[in-house]
């Protein structure tokens, strides 16, 4: 089936079965490999993208249901103010170890701060609990979100990072 998709502000045409999850359209049809495959069952959050601004697991979203929704991926998120702040915060305290899950983490964090600019710990945990980091970088993920939200500075968080 031919589909016209709006991804990162660019129109793409693909010809794939309607049940193919968006993840595999992004990765194997369009070469947008920043969005990661982790579980294929919506359990780990590595494949998180924004669908009209909301965080969604792209491994659970059939391309036939995307319609005219605006899709944003990690490749584009730095073009938004929140996304850029998150990327900077992520680097200021070097959140990651292997880094594989971080695209999904940043996409979830970006959706969180879009809705809740100053999340408390409970809100932060609720928004981020769907994203697994096998390396266990959770302390720094919390810190980086707080830094990006203007709730802390890298110096304040430095006792926790380095």
């Amino acid at each position: 089936m031919p589909y016209r998709l709006n991804i990162n502000g660019v129109s793409h045409e693909v010809n794939v079965p309607s049940e193919m999850p968006l993840l595999w359209v992004l990765r194997d049809e369009l070469g947008l490999v920043g969005t990661k495959f982790g579980c294929g069952k919506g359990l780990c959050g590595a494949c998180t993208v924004h669908v009209d601004g909301a965080a969604q697991r792209s491994c659970q979203l059939p391309v036939g249901r995307v319609g005219h929704a605006k899709i944003h991926t990690i490749e584009h998120i730095g073009a938004t103010a929140i996304g850029e702040r998150l990327q900077q915060a992520w680097l200021q305290i070097d959140v990651m170890q292997c880094g594989y899950c971080q695209a999904g983490q940043i996409m979830s964090a970006c959706a969180l701060l879009g809705k809740t600019p100053k999340p408390d710990t409970e809100q932060l945990h609720a928004a981020m609990a769907g994203n697994i980091c096998r390396c266990g970088c959770y302390n720094r993920i919390r810190s980086a979100i707080r830094i990006a939200a203007g709730m802390a500075t890298p110096a304040q968080e430095s006792g926790r990072v380095a």
Binding site: D28, V33, K36, G38, C39, M96, G99, Y100, G130, R140
Partner: protein, 737 residues
């Protein structure tokens, strides 16, 4: 240029001598000489960059390229090893670019990520490499200016002659330097650590900036023109063999390019497992097509390889008395017979999977008798060995590119995925193909941390001193050797610290593939031994830090019985005393539902003492805070990465205990498959983690593993202190009403 034969011996001598100068304490065989070609200088053909060694290239504009030799799996070596080179080169980190080296052990030395060995084995060679390049730059500048190199100094990538006021950037003399004979490493002077400008400074990982933008840095991100995507369907049970496959229905499905039944070499552990490959234009199409495969498997070898059967066999082995001798000191049985007080307890832990976030994958193209591979592997050399053994592709016919791995934890020390993709690529010459496992493949076809059972006995004298200790370990193996990572640790405390001790072992055969999981053996032995010693301490009227300090006694080195690193009781004392202080340790079992637990463990040359503060309710264990005291030597190379390794290890250990991780088998078939039934830690679980480094005068050692082992018994000891319930089996299962 040096000749190979002279060079190797020269370098080996140099490295060994340098290690002794630096304080010794490392097993000599752990230090690997820089390969001679690493010292070979010469301007690379067709390149503007001057190649001062295999590791250091300098462009005319002063940009320094440093080759990262080892696989990067999240442990940070792609950053930390080049930091060592750059510091001794005396340039600025901002002028450095890092390039991942392809696999070429003749050129780069050992290229592997395992055993927390990168720091101790590369600490001197990488610094010497940087210092040698600096010496060549100085010599070139000295010749240019007609002065003695002894009159020159360097800073931030520039050379200065203070007498004449002249200076030059490294890029200005690099091409001349590359034509010089590399210096004898014995003559290369290393910095006083007080002069380090890069080592010891928190440094952001070299791939981090790309990762936050979604740049293609991982194995799974490899994309080649015309590349196809593959799955590899293996038997539903370990040890299964392919009888026949009907592939016709699958071949007709959209996007499917090839369906390839593949006979393995009968060695699914080391070689190529039987399977059916589906190759498609899109991975999802290949994966969807699996359900249409009609395959007949011979699963007879897997019969009886079930968790319940293993448990019953372990029970029987323990009931029948001690196993085969592993270590016998003095007369433990005699001392037990006359002890004023005896304790005994049985402990066990399950098989668990590695579950790195990036599922196993590998990309390959076979063309004109040559294989090119892009691999997220921890152990590329073993991959080359397997390719030759299973497929007859000689190592000199393989080009192996290292790709960043989305987590390793020991899983990628085995290269089964590499052999599989090579078998597929060989069947479709000229076509690049990426094999990607589903999460279910990844969980079920892991090389699991093997489960095990321990039957402990301890004897106390009338004063409460530990006078006898025994353990009967039931593990997996063929009767002669244990299965991979199913081994014991002959130096497991209190071994070497008391006179009468007896370790024995029984092996159960298994068809399940087992392997090294972060801190292999230690991740389980720490739990059982430090938990049982906590029981001993309480019976003796003390607490575990008190018991451990009493057992450790005076500061001394105890040689290991099996060529492992010697055990320094002084360093152990220091971390124990430190964490007692930082955690404001107090031990009042049974007083409150919130309590602290302690544990100590020595592994991978690192000394770690940890305290967990946890509270326990009917349904939940909540970890509030963890304190870590660590001694990994005189220098933390990159504190940014080092602290992440410790925090990650702590959270990893907590997850092993608290999320319910257990892999179970029914007739060789793995019952778990994904993160719903094999859970990992999630963000609410992550406690505050306090780290105190003790800077001993020993050479720096690795951090990928040794922080993990103590956290599990520290947690279970805290659960005992909070509830009075002793956790003797992992994962922790709370008694709920």
């Amino acid at each position: 240029m040096l000749h190979d034969s002279q060079g190797v011996s020269l370098e080996r001598r140099t490295v060994l001598k340098a290690s002794l100068l630096a304080g010794g304490g490392l097993a000599l065989e752990a230090l690997i000489p820089i390969p001679v070609r690493a010292l070979g200088a010469g301007v690379r053909q067709g390149s503007a960059r001057a190649e001062l060694s295999a590791f250091v290239l300098i462009a005319p504009d002063g940009v320094v390229t440093i080759m990262a030799k080892n696989p990067e799996i999240g442990q940070g070596v792609k950053t930390s090893l080049p930091m060592m080179v750059a510091d001794e080169l005396d340039c600025e980190w901002s002028q450095v670019r890092i390039t991942q080296a392809d696999v070429d052990e003749k050129r780069y030395g050992r290229q592997a990520a395992g055993g927390s060995t990168a720091t101790p084995t590369n600490w001197l060679p990488m610094r010497q490499t940087g210092a040698a390049a600096r010496a060549m730059l100085l010599e070139a500048a000295a010749a240019k200016w007609g002065v003695s190199s002894a009159e020159l100094t360097t800073a931030k990538g520039r050379i200065f002659h203070s007498a004449s006021g002249r200076s030059a950037g490294y890029g200005e003399v690099a091409s001349a330097a590359a034509r010089l004979t590399p210096p004898d490493l014995e003559s290369v002077r290393l910095k006083d650590p007080a002069q380090f400008t890069i080592i010891g400074r928190p440094t952001v990982g070299v791939d981090s900036a790309g990762i936050v933008k979604g740049k293609p840095v991982f194995g799974i991100d490899t994309r080649l023109p015309g590349m196809l995507y593959a799955i590899y369907q293996v038997a539903p049970a370990h040890g299964g063999r392919l009888v026949k496959a009907d592939t016709e229905a699958v071949k007709r499905l959209p996007g499917i390019k090839h369906v390839l039944p593949i006979r393995g070499d009968g060695d699914p552990d080391q070689g190529l497992a039987d399977g059916v490959a589906i190759v498609a234009s899109n991975w999802w199409l290949a994966n969807q097509a699996r359900s249409q495969l009609v395959i007949e498997w011979d699963l007879s070898a897997a019969q009886g390889h079930s968790t319940s059967v293993y448990r019953a066999k372990a029970d029987a082995a323990i009931a029948s008395g001690p196993g085969a001798d592993l270590r016998r000191d003095g007369d433990a049985a005699g001392k037990l017979a006359t002890a004023a007080r005896r304790l005994s307890a049985r402990y066990d832990y399950p098989f668990i999977a590695h579950a790195p976030m990036e599922p196993q994958n590998c990309t390959a193209c076979y063309r004109d008798g040559r294989l090119e591979v892009w691999a997220p592997t921890q152990n590329p050399k073993e991959g080359l060995t397997s390719l030759e053994k299973s497929l007859g592709i000689a190592p000199d016919k393989v080009t192996l590119h290292l790709r960043r791995a989305g987590g390793g934890f020991g899983r990628r020390l085995l290269n089964d995925y590499m052999v599989q993709v090579a078998a597929i690529a060989k069947a479709i010459p000229g076509v690049p193909v990426q094999l990607l496992w589903s999460r279910e493949d990844d969980i079920r076809r892991d090389y699991f941390r093997p489960g095990g059972w321990h039957n402990f006995e301890a004897g106390l004298d009338a004063k409460g001193n530990l006078i006898a200790f025994t353990d009967h370990f039931v593990t997996f193996g063929d009767g002669k050797t244990t299965a991979r990572a199913a081994n014991f640790n002959l130096a497991l405390p209190p071994a070497g610290l008391i006179e009468d001790l007896h370790f024995t072992q029984t092996m159960l055969p298994t068809v399940i593939t087992t392997g090294w999981l972060r801190a292999p053996a230690s991740n389980a032995l720490s739990f059982v031994s430090q938990s049982f010693l906590d029981e001993v301490a309480i019976a003796a009227g003390t607490d575990l830090p008190g018991l451990m300090l009493a057992l450790l006694g005076e500061r001394r080195e105890i040689p290991a019985p099996d060529n492992r690193s010697a055990f320094d009781t002084g360093r152990a004392r220091d971390v124990i005393e430190k964490v007692v202080q930082t955690s404001s340790w107090s031990h009042k079992p049974g007083e409150s539902a919130r309590a602290k637990g302690f544990a100590f463990y020595f592994s991978h040359r690192g000394y770690f003492a940890e305290v967990v503060d946890a509270s326990v309710s009917a349904s939940e264990v909540l970890v509030h805070k963890v304190w870590v005291a660590a001694d990994v030597g005189s220098q933390i190379v990159n504190p940014m990465g080092a602290e992440n390794q410790v925090r990650g290890a702590v959270i990893d250990g907590l997850a092993q205990a608290l999320t319910g991780q257990a892999i179970e088998f029914v007739d060789g078939a793995v019952q778990q498959s994904n993160f719903d039934d094999f859970p990992l830690a999630r963000i609410p679980m992550a406690p505050e983690i306090d780290i105190a480094w003790i800077r001993s005068d020993k050479p720096p050692t690795g951090l990928g593993e040794p922080a993990l082992p103590p956290v599990i018994p520290a947690l279970t000891n805290a659960i005992f202190a909070a509830t009075g319930t002793r956790i003797r089996s992992l994962p922790v299962r709370l008694q709920t009403a």
